[in-house]
Point group: C2
Chain length 615, copies 2
């Protein structure tokens, strides 16, 4: 289906908005009146610019409070409308949106409303323009789509139809099934927006919190199915008023927007992008760093062994059990410092996963490899993290470790050598019993938190959990986990309180161990530094739970935090921070969360540590 | 009365919060449990720190979901409570807050609730602690203060009383008159918070949008009167959950908070700070700049004449009619660039105005003057703007212009010279008919927008109008005007969409003229550059209003914008931006607003101009 977006959904000048919409793959735009008024381009120039960009102008929305008003007011409205129809002719836009009146003098008189709309449609017809009448959720007398349709039906004019808007319908809790009563050819336009389920004034909700389909709590797909069943074949058009999108760069927002419509079309069955290939595990996490030493010191103390080196790049493979961490000292990190730059996702079908990602507008990364390297499919997540789709130890697929060789030059990841690093599975003499990566925590750009969840859900086929607030001493953070069904892939997406926020304390690699006390002890004995947790925290634990003798003292000594949920217990502790990244040791005995309850204490302890040692 | 603040209302570590509260003048604090848990200080150390800072610990709030729960649950609660009472003994806190239960298993049984609270109070009493029971607005069964009081009354225990919270009472629309039924000695605590009047889920409203009294829409003072009438003599304590305050620097937020309580006490008649002295006009606006030339060029083209120079500082006085602008080239501006740094407010009693400002915690500025200079009372506004309280041409008061001399050395602002600059009143040969400063627009720091309105209202005695949203191409701005009764002092407070926001387009000086067309023409003829406004804007004006022949063409030619309200018409245009400041020429024929309707077009035009010429 054709896709369209209202210019109000994107930031910047009109030309920035049009360019972003075109680049993201939209077929058309709705031009918001203020964007046109503020543009130095004439209507003819805007029309030409859109044509150059391959965009149709699907809708213009220049008038409010048209119908069911006193005669003198309506005469002024008709005069104004003719001005606007003339403008639309210059613009090449053939559909005008008219929202139900909120005018204080508007009367509750459907016959009068129908008569006024008929006169308006008469005038529009002279300019070759169609009028699409829409019920605002807060319209003074007309605020349901059924009511708007009854008026359109009564007016019975070929140039008059209705416009449906998912926000106005779903925010009021109207049942979209009634859409079946409207002939498809009388639905002149379909505007789509989702929204988080907030109990608040609907006007404020609409003006500030709309989001793209799939990012909120509405069943937008269900509504679209109802509309398509009528035979509607106009565009799917996004009209999203959102305080964050207004500030975000237009380019990424437009991509996010178009992705939401691609996913929506897949959901309702009118498009079939390549099917999602859900990752089955974490093959590796990749750190970039300008200086391998501090990272190597922590990894060594954590019981990891450096088992191999990339054949052509300055990348070391560290390993313990099934936890693998790449340390990349190539030039890129000199600018950004030490951070988590890439994730290897164990994929049943790496090429298929990459095809889906590409179809859903994820930037496909160049393979950056020497001629002899194994091909690796990779895309960029919205936060810039590189996602590699790969296979470990699966005979039917090339092993990503083929490009790595141990110190003797023996290639990793081939049948013959698989046994040779079995000795590392316990972590060797200094092992801490880490057996795999439990989860990865990524810091999201402030403006793209909703995009990130939709991306991981739609592109990777992960399940997104609820967003939770976490109190940092310097502002509320939000965190949202995405996981696969068996929990072997868990990514926690975190975002700070403001664009300026120091989110250094969000990015980390959590390592699973079956005995966090032993792991923490061995880490410390090997010279590792554990984040100290205040004694007051343990006094509170003692008040809330009962522990075996000495257990709490051990936790306090090691800085181990404790939580439990209906499924089990959780014990975890943290290492020092290196650059922008730190490690967590976790013992997850059935527990399904991420210790959000303990995050404020952990964050405060990290601020304290940084103030004291600059860590 | 004693004042207190909950540590959750401020950002940072516990010690940062305590220090800020003490410096701002609070007598005590409520310690929020998470702040204690996250602190590396022991309870004894926290107690000592508070004592050093002159702060009592008025309340601790470590427990939820205590009462009316199943027996086993209650036994666990009592056990936990004893742990917390022991902690409070170490802390030196003697009042514990217990909020009404939201536990899913809590039953609707007042007798059981009273019995549980009686047992809790029994336990507390052993530690010398009092229990203050409070109805949460979203309590499962107990959610009104009257209900909480009935349970406390039924429990009838000397160590059990009630806590009243203005948010929980006023957010539900409960009538605070019923507070008269509670004996003052049974009101153990009073928590105060205001909030903007939002129609939204009360839990979210409470957790994210509370603000300090006087910054929202509740009648907090009315409620406090009701409480004081009972004989309550405990502290007035602020408990404000606010996403912005969580991020803001603790120091200024604590000052803002304490100011709100000082004003509240004045309102309810228990404190009498010096009375407000409402300014009666704008004596001058002061620009600082590292380079006087670009500013001089614009002022000259605007018809201002440089009439005098400060005797001891590099400050020029420019004048046209009653509009006076100081241009200060002292070193400070080299760092900040050209901007609006100070406002001279015509004051009936400059010393009195300064005394009020100081009593309400405005930083009093050093007079920065040479021995022979006239004394000038000045304070800093929350955005750093210096506010001078001064007199112009009033024989009974020293004239601020006494420190300025014209080129012949004749002092300004004395009886003898008053006539000598009468010739400038028309602006001289190049005058543009500017007769006074219409309004000043100041950019507020993102975290202190609410503080700014309260400051200008309480310290200066101005009236604050409603806040309006203004769509900039790169985010929603907010703007709020503060004025005196006759409109001779008007200040528009603006704030960007995010802390990082480029708010260069908010700060300006608006100059009143009775003929903006003539003024704009003369400005342009004198070499001034007017902000070009897109033609599309004028097409829209033509659609919306009827104008005399040629009128719109004139406006389009000069970039004059048009608005009207119920009181009259408004015509205005803008100059180029110099550094961070620009000028507006306004013709206000009865109109009372600030052209907010036109602001999106103006802002977009400024972005366009900057992109084109770097202006």
């Amino acid at each position: 289906m054709r896709t369209s977006i209202a210019t109000v959904s994107l930031s910047g000048s009109l030309t920035e908005k049009l360019t972003a919409a075109s680049r993201a793959g939209f077929d058309g735009v709705e031009i918001f009146e203020n964007d046109l008024l503020a543009s130095p381009l004439t209507p003819e120039e805007i029309r030409a610019r859109c044509a150059d960009l391959g965009l149709s102008i699907d809708l213009y929305q220049p008038m409010r409070d048209i119908e069911a008003v006193p005669a003198e007011e309506f005469a002024r409205n008709l005069r104004r409308a003719r001005h606007k129809f003339e403008l639309m002719r210059r613009l090449g836009a053939d559909t005008v949106l008219v929202c139900s009146s909120v005018h204080p003098l508007a009367v509750d008189d459907d016959a009068l409303a129908a008569d006024h709309l008929r006169q308006l449609a008469d005038s529009a017809e002279e300019f070759g323009i169609r009028v699409a009448y829409e019920a605002l959720a807060w319209g003074r007398h007309v605020n349901t789509y059924g009511h708007a349709w009854r008026i359109v039906e009564a007016a019975d004019h070929p140039a008059l139809g209705t416009c449906l808007d998912s926000f106005h319908i779903l925010s009021r809790g109207s049942d979209p099934k009634g859409i079946a009563d409207i002939p498809g050819e009388k639905i002149f336009y379909l505007q789509l927006a989702d929204a988080p389920l907030l109990a608040m004034d609907v006007l404020q909700w609409s003006r500030h919190y709309r989001c793209f389909p799939g990012q909120g709590g509405f069943d937008v797909a269900g509504l679209v199915r109802n509309v398509l069943d009528t035979g509607y074949d106009g565009p799917l058009s996004l009209e999203v008023f959102n305080d964050v999108f207004r500030q975000a760069e237009a380019g990424p927002t437009a991509v996010d927007a178009h992705r939401s419509l691609l996913v929506l079309q897949e959901t309702v069955g009118v498009a079939t992008p390549p099917a999602p290939v859900v990752p089955t595990g974490v093959a590796f996490a990749e750190l970039v760093t300008p200086d391998a030493e501090p990272v190597a010191a922590v990894l060594g103390a954590l019981g990891f062994a450096r088992t191999a080196r990339h054949r052509t790049k300055p990348v070391d493979l560290w390993r313990q059990g099934e936890a693998r961490i790449l340390v990349n000292t190539s030039g890129a990190a000199r600018r950004t410092g030490t951070g988590l730059a890439a994730i290897g996702l164990e994929s049943p079908d790496p090429a298929g996963a990459a095809r889906r990602a590409e179809a859903l507008l994820a930037p496909v990364l160049p393979r950056r490899r020497a001629a002899e390297d194994a091909p690796l499919d990779a895309v960029a997540a919205p936060d810039g993290t590189e996602l590699f789709f790969c296979a470990t130890d699966r005979p039917e697929l090339p092993d990503w470790r083929a490009d790595f060789a141990d110190d003797t030059g023996v290639s990793q990841g081939t049948e013959g050598t698989r046994g040779s690093h079995g000795t590392d599975d316990t972590g060797g003499p200094h092992g801490t019993g880490v057996h795999r990566i439990d989860h990865l925590a990524l810091t999201q750009p402030w403006h793209h938190f909703d995009e990130a969840a939709l991306f991981h859900r739609s592109v990777l086929g992960l399940h997104a959990q609820e967003s939770v607030d976490v109190a940092d001493p310097y502002g509320l953070m939000r965190s949202r986990a995405v996981t696969n069904a068996d929990g072997s892939v868990r990514i926690a997406l975190g975002v700070g309180a403001a664009p300026t926020d120091d989110t250094v304390h969000a990015q980390h690699i959590a390592l699973a161990t079956s005995d966090v006390v032993a792991a923490a002890r061995r880490f410390r004995e090997a010279g590792g530094w554990l984040l100290p947790i205040p004694a007051n925290y343990y006094d509170d634990l003692a008040a809330r739970h009962e522990f075996a003798d000495g257990e709490l003292e051990t936790y306090r000594d090691l800085g181990i935090l404790y939580d439990r949920d209906a499924h089990g217990e959780f014990r975890h502790c943290y290492t020092m921070t290196v650059g922008r990244v730190f490690f967590e040791l976790v013992q997850r005995d059935g527990y399904r969360g991420y210790g959000a309850q303990n995050a404020p204490v952990r964050l405060a302890a990290q601020h304290t540590a940084r103030a004291v040692i600059g860590g």
